[in-house]
């Protein structure tokens, strides 16, 4: 004889456990931002582009180290043609630009379009917290894009060094703060502009297009305007090339000023001018984003 099953109606159980309040809300928003830009817990098609960009950002670093390994094994006297940490920022900068163009709209626009901001407005979260958490998500991802390949190269080159591994790590330790500072410059130059465009645009595709227009066409426009020699102060148009400023500051950090063919450098602007432009644009962008979200949340 089999025993009869019993169904219990457990009803509603109140939550008597921990509540993390504002800190928990901020961390949840931050973590959701990371998931969003990588398409995690989203449909498969939303994962394709971000992960393709991850591969594009990291693969060259693996190739650099691999090629250095081959050279050190078969032609120890030949120097690697690929360069080092400073040169690699030129590769990842393009990937980061693409990622910000795709990721920043994903972070802000769906919440506005789909009305999800109403849910955030009923949680222990201020508008500044929401914007800050989303910005932190984007900055973290940019830092990852910039730093992970650099760390791979740093460790890889140390492993291939004729010195011992740990000695090589120590010898090159002065590169670490430079790498971090250069990555921070790119993040500061790209993320606030991407988020500002996504704050204003109502559709993701439009935001991506406007960001490219500002960063790339703006640079092309700057190149054209500085050629207008008949116009007084025409060289100041070089400052419109927003995409170039972090490269100029990065060269400065790595002691390579003048080694890149940058419009801003060619028109006589020192790297500190680029640094001020980056900080100014980041500051104004952040202020406008916060102002806008304080009005709508």
């Amino acid at each position: 004889m089999t025993e009869r099953g019993v169904v219990f109606d457990l009803g509603y159980t109140p939550h008597e456990g921990e509540r993390r309040g504002r800190h928990g809300a901020i961390m949840t928003t931050f973590r959701d931002g990371l998931y969003r830009v990588f398409g995690i817990r989203r449909r498969a098609r939303k994962k394709i582009l971000p992960w393709l960009l991850v591969v594009i950002a990291i693969l060259p670093a693996v190739v650099f180290v691999g090629f250095a390994f081959l050279l050190s094994t078969f032609a120890p006297d030949v120097e690697s043609p690929f360069g080092g940490h400073a040169e690699y920022f030129g590769i990842t900068a393009t990937v980061v630009l693409l990622f910000v163009a795709l990721g920043a709209p994903e972070l802000l626009i769906p919440d506005r379009r789909e009305g999800v901001l109403a849910v955030y407005s009923s949680r222990p979260l201020r508008p500044d917290d929401y914007v800050g958490a989303r910005a932190a998500s984007l900055l973290t991802v940019i830092a990852g894009f910039m730093l992970i390949p650099q760390v791979l190269m740093y460790i890889g080159f140390a492993a291939l060094s004729s010195d011992s591994f740990f000695k090589a790590l120590g010898t090159n330790a002065d590169e670490i703060p430079k790498i971090i500072a250069a990555a921070a410059m790119y993040a500061l130059a790209y993320a606030p502009v991407g988020l500002l465009v996504s704050t204003i645009a109502s559709r993701k595709a439009a935001a991506t297009g406007i960001f490219f227009a500002v960063m790339l066409i703006g640079t092309a426009l700057a190149a054209a305007l500085v050629e207008a020699t008949g116009v007084p102060g025409h060289r100041f148009a070089a400052l419109l090339g927003l995409a170039e400023h972090p490269a100029q500051v990065s060269d400065w950090i790595f002691g390579r000023v003048g080694s890149s063919d940058l419009i801003v450098a060619n028109n006589g602007f020192d790297p500190w001018v680029s640094l001020i432009v980056i900080l100014l644009v980041a500051g104004v962008s952040s202020a406008v984003i916060v102002w806008r979200y304080r009005r709508i949340m």
């Binding site: 921990e18 928990g24 809300a25 817990r41 989203r42 109403a118 849910v119 955030y120 009923s122 949680r123």
Partner: protein
């Protein structure tokens, strides 16, 4: 039971530029299920936004669960839930993911958020559909998901803004049933609606707004059980009316039907005496069936 008001307002006002949405609003509402009623534009949503800390009052102040709605916004938001009238669901995630996320936003740790989301989605009848993307949900399922995100963190008070909007009759019944059950879970409810029947079904108190002012406020039973007797008289009504008026009653006539009220005496007794004295017969006698709509219209609501 604590009798302290869960919601109160003093001289509360808000204006959008030159348009006054709320003016001189005052109330003290105890725990329970409260209906916030009023026509479109009466100021219901503005009041809810002030209580949530989204809008700052132009004048006066409001408290929620004892906390100042503006100054202690985060304390308020840690204890309440909100089901907005408008769309608030991301279409490309599953109901489960979204409700877990909503729980996390309220500060619940991951494991608790997952457990609560599962329980609450079952409670609202979405246990079978919880792993489907919200973009494929019907209006009724979306409304249930909105309710689930509003209560997933076990709030002390939940604001429901037009919870039956867009629902078919069956969906509306199910939503009203769910709202009625919330009180049993220890969750206080403020239901905003312009459908007065929904408020009568689900609430025990009501706050009526009209043109940004409080029209009526109090227990629903006090508002709708007006002390008025309705009697349908057979034959000539004039003698009955004359007798009632002489006894101090206030009489309204509509054909053969009389509506009788008295501030000094029991209107049933007055009607009985008048019928006996005049030798008149009647078809029916009983308390006037007063709906919330009657109260709203009598109060000058539009």
């Amino acid at each position: 039971m604590n009798d302290a008001p869960i919601l109160s307002a003093r001289d509360l006002g808000h204006a959008y530029g030159s348009i006054v949405a709320l003016h001189g609003v005052e109330f003290d509402l105890p725990a329970g299920r409260i209906g916030l009623v009023g026509a479109n534009g009466a100021g219901k949503t503005t009041l809810i936004k002030i209580l949530l800390g989204i809008l700052r009052p132009t004048t006066g102040s409001a408290t929620v669960l004892g906390f100042d709605a503006t100054r202690d916004m985060l304390d308020v938001r840690s204890r309440i839930g909100y089901m907005p009238e408008s769309d608030c669901l991301p279409l490309d995630v599953t109901a489960s993911e979204f409700v877990v996320y909503a729980a996390g936003l309220a500060g619940l740790p991951s494991n608790a958020a997952r457990q609560r989301a599962s329980d609450v989605l079952t409670l609202v009848g979405l246990e079978e559909e919880r792993f489907r993307p919200l973009g494929g949900f019907s209006t009724g399922m979306k409304q249930r998901t909105k309710l689930a995100q509003a209560i997933v963190h076990d709030p002390e008070l939940v604001f429901l803004d037009e919870p039956t909007a867009g629902l078919d009759p069956e969906g509306r019944e199910e939503m009203l049933e769910l709202i009625s059950r919330l009180g049993g879970f220890g969750i206080n409810v403020l239901v905003s609606s312009h459908v007065l029947g929904d408020i009568e079904r689900t609430c025990d108190r009501v706050l009526m707004l009209d043109g940004g002012r409080v029209l009526r406020s109090g227990p629903l039973s006090h508002l709708v059980d007006a002390d008025i007797v309705s009697v349908d008289v057979l034959g000539d009504i004039s003698a009955v009316v004359e007798h009632l008026t002489a006894a101090g009653a206030v009489v309204e006539t509509s054909g053969s039907r009389l509506l009788v009220s008295s501030s000094d005496d029991d209107p049933f007794r007055l009607v009985r005496d008048a019928l006996v004295s005049t030798g008149s017969g009647m078809r029916s006698l009983g308390p006037k069936a007063t709906t919330l709509e009657d109260v709203f219209l009598e109060g000058g609501g539009t």
